[in-house]
């Protein structure tokens, strides 16, 4: 038997109205057409997709793009409003971990309950239970009621329960990182292993690395449609690019009040502050952590000869000063009398967050000096694989090397 998933012109419309009775009548009658649910929210829009055996499909897209709805329909958790879904093979879906954990029962009993929900016989569960317990690393706690567990322990138990599935068609929604660092590594490795065994894998994740590691095909969904379908590398890159552009626009809009240039003294002004990131010289406000950042400042000031300085501050939005440096303007005078300063951070070691870049023009470098002109810009530093367990203020560029003995 060959495994496949075929979707033909599949749509899913969620009714927007509050009339649950209407939903009931529509659902029972089974004739939910466009007219019955007019004005409803279209989550998936006439989507056609076919997945063949051996394909490991990643689905990327922003929140509300219809990824999960699509996944639910493939998993058989909900039916399409129109169109047809054809699946050959047994579908195993992992949407949420720890479904049906019974607080009053011990960890061991819960493993049996989980087996029962999955439709396994007692003997089938018996054959894997020791492996599951070992994987969960719960030790003696496995005999204690689950209500005594910490969140991390519950997550470990829940993950261990799915660690021995033998899927034909496997559907995974969102990242499954659980527990402490070492367990998380183990869990990720196991997910890769399970995926390798699956005949067809469909994965929705916001972690681009997970998609690139696991998948050999990737689709990009937007407003319920597939806008791109191809190699994971190309699709994830295109997706990140689009997301970045959209995020930048949003960021500028949100922090508009912080942005701007003002002059306090006639003849003094900061006319341009531009940010350049990476090798390609694109003006942008989102910068990848660890990349190269160049800041170009163009200013004008009366009486260049004095001790005036350009002061560059990088401030986190909670007003924490992270970078402070004064540049005597005398060193950066251009031919036309303008001041042109380029500051380069190579690499930029700031951690992922939003920052404000303050440039001020001062008569001298004393702290009490009032600025003659000031300019502020907002930029965001993002990390592709942010470290788990907190938001470090700085990014530590670390490289590994073979020891030469």
């Amino acid at each position: 038997m060959s495994f496949c998933v075929e979707l033909d012109q599949v749509s899913k419309v969620f009714s927007a109205g509050s009339s649950t009775t209407g939903d009931l009548v529509a659902a029972m009658a089974g004739n939910v057409g466009q007219d019955t649910l007019a004005g409803g929210k279209v989550a998936v829009d006439r989507l056609t997709l076919s997945i063949a055996e051996g394909e490991r499909l990643g689905i990327v897209g922003r929140n509300g793009a219809g990824k999960s709805t699509l996944l639910h329909m493939i998993a058989g958790l909900s039916g399409p409003t129109s169109g047809s879904v054809r699946i050959s093979g047994k579908v195993t879906s992992i949407m949420t971990l720890g479904v049906g954990l019974r607080d009053d029962l011990s960890g061991r009993e819960n493993i049996y309950v989980d087996g029962e929900i999955q439709g396994k016989s007692r003997a089938e569960t018996d054959s894997v239970i020791e492996q599951v317990i070992e994987f969960s690393e719960l030790g003696e706690f496995i005999e204690y009621p689950v209500r005594t567990y910490s969140t991390g322990m519950k997550a470990r138990l829940a993950f261990a329960m799915i660690s021995h599935i033998d899927p034909e068609i496997l559907i995974i929604d969102e990242a499954l990182s659980v527990g402490d660092a070492s367990f998380s590594v183990k869990a990720t490795a196991r997910i890769l292993e399970i995926c390798a065994r699956g005949k067809i894998v469909i994965l929705v994740s916001h972690g681009m690395q997970a998609i690139r590691d696991i998948c050999n095909r990737c689709i990009y969904m937007k407003d319920g449609r597939i806008v791109m379908d191809g190699q994971p590398d190309a699709v994830t890159r295109a997706y990140i690019e689009e997301v970045r552009e959209a995020d930048e626009a949003e960021l500028m809009l949100k922090f508009q009040s912080h942005v701007g240039s003002r002059s306090f003294k006639a003849g003094s002004e900061i006319s341009r502050v531009s940010l350049f990131s990476g090798e390609i010289e694109v003006n942008c406000v989102r910068i990848e952590a660890g990349s190269r950042l160049r800041i170009q400042i163009v200013a004008r000031h009366q009486g260049i000869a004095g001790g005036a300085v350009l002061r560059v501050h990088i401030v986190r939005l909670d007003d924490l000063l992270l970078f402070h440096k004064d540049f005597p303007i005398g060193d950066y005078v251009l031919d036309g009398g303008d001041i042109g300063l380029e500051v380069e951070f190579s690499p930029l070691v700031l951690g992922a967050a939003i920052y404000r870049l303050d440039v001020s023009l001062l008569e001298n470098d004393s702290d009490s000096c009032e600025p003659c002109a000031r300019s502020a810009t907002i930029f965001e530093v993002f990390a592709l694989d942010p470290p788990s367990g907190g938001k470090p203020m700085l990014l530590y560029p670390v490289t590994g090397r073979v020891v030469l003995t």
């Binding site: 009931l24 529509a26 029972m28 958790l77 909900s78 039916g79 579908v91 087996g115 439709g119």
Partner: protein, 261 residues
């Protein structure tokens, strides 16, 4: 049959086990309540109707005869009530697994209804003791009992199929249902004989499957007769028709469960 296979039977058993555990093993006295609850209700109604209202059956002199007669009808009714309520709430109650696992959700109302078998067993056991004490030892007619129990539960499951799917969209069902069942109980000859009901209700009762089921229990256990064949055929046909359409409606509606849960 009806689109179910061998694996579904196993899953049904698993779900049944889970329901029993959730219902009876969660509380500290656990299974004790499974026995105490129906007994308590039986005692109260016996007291009220047997000793306060002093109802006597036509032709019988003792109150004990009435008590036995009452329990033959009311015991199975408790099981019916429990099963219908459990079945109706089964899909909503299992929303976390319905939303996360692909399985035949139509097994949920069936598994939940079957939990009523436990309270039925308790009632019948209690009744058996009473029958022996009152000198009215059951005869070979009890051979019909399993047949009546099967019919009763097919009918309950048929209703549960509809109600559980409707409850997903209209949660009010769970609020109304207990009262509705109480009303139904008083329109079914459970506390008083068929003959003492108004003419109109008598006629309506002929279309009431619960009436036929109660009569069947009484024929077998207290009157030592073969239950009315017409009545049983009526219940069987009605159950299968209601179940068939209920299952079809449930299967159409289940695609929309995840947006309503």
């Amino acid at each position: 049959m009806f689109g179910f296979n061998r694996y579904d039977v196993r899953l049904l058993l698993n779900l049944f086990k889970m329901n029993v555990r959730d219902r009876y093993l969660g509380s500290s006295l656990g299974s004790v309540w499974a026995i105490v609850n129906p007994l308590l209700m039986l005692c109260i109604y016996t007291y009220v109707f047997g000793f306060v209202f002093k109802i006597k059956l036509p032709g019988a002199e003792t109150t004990l005869a009435y008590v036995v007669w009452l329990i033959t009808g009311y015991g199975p009714w408790i099981a019916t009530t429990e099963a219908i309520i459990a079945s109706s709430g089964s899909v909503v109650g299992a929303s976390s697994i319905v939303k996360n696992l692909a399985f035949k959700t139509e097994l949920l109302p069936i598994a939940a209804a079957l939990v009523g078998l436990i309270s039925l067993a308790v009632s019948l056991l209690f009744l058996l003791i009473l029958l022996i004490v009152s000198g009215n030892t059951p005869t070979w007619h009890v051979a019909f009992l399993p047949f009546v129990i099967v019919l009763q539960f097919i009918w309950i499951i048929a209703l549960g199929m509809w109600l559980s799917a409707i409850t997903v969209f209209v949660r009010d069902v769970m609020q109304v249902l207990p009262n509705l069942l109480t009303v139904l109980m008083f329109f079914t000859p459970i506390f008083y004989p068929f003959d003492s009901m108004p003419r109109l209700v008598q006629n309506l009762s002929l279309a009431n499957p619960f009436y036929h089921l109660a009569e069947a229990y009484r024929s077998i256990l207290t009157e030592h007769q073969v239950p009315s064949i017409e009545g049983m055929v009526f219940v069987a046909v009605l159950s299968i028709v209601v179940f068939h359409f209920g299952l079809a409606a449930f299967r159409r509606a289940k695609g929309y469960f995840d947006s309503a849960l």
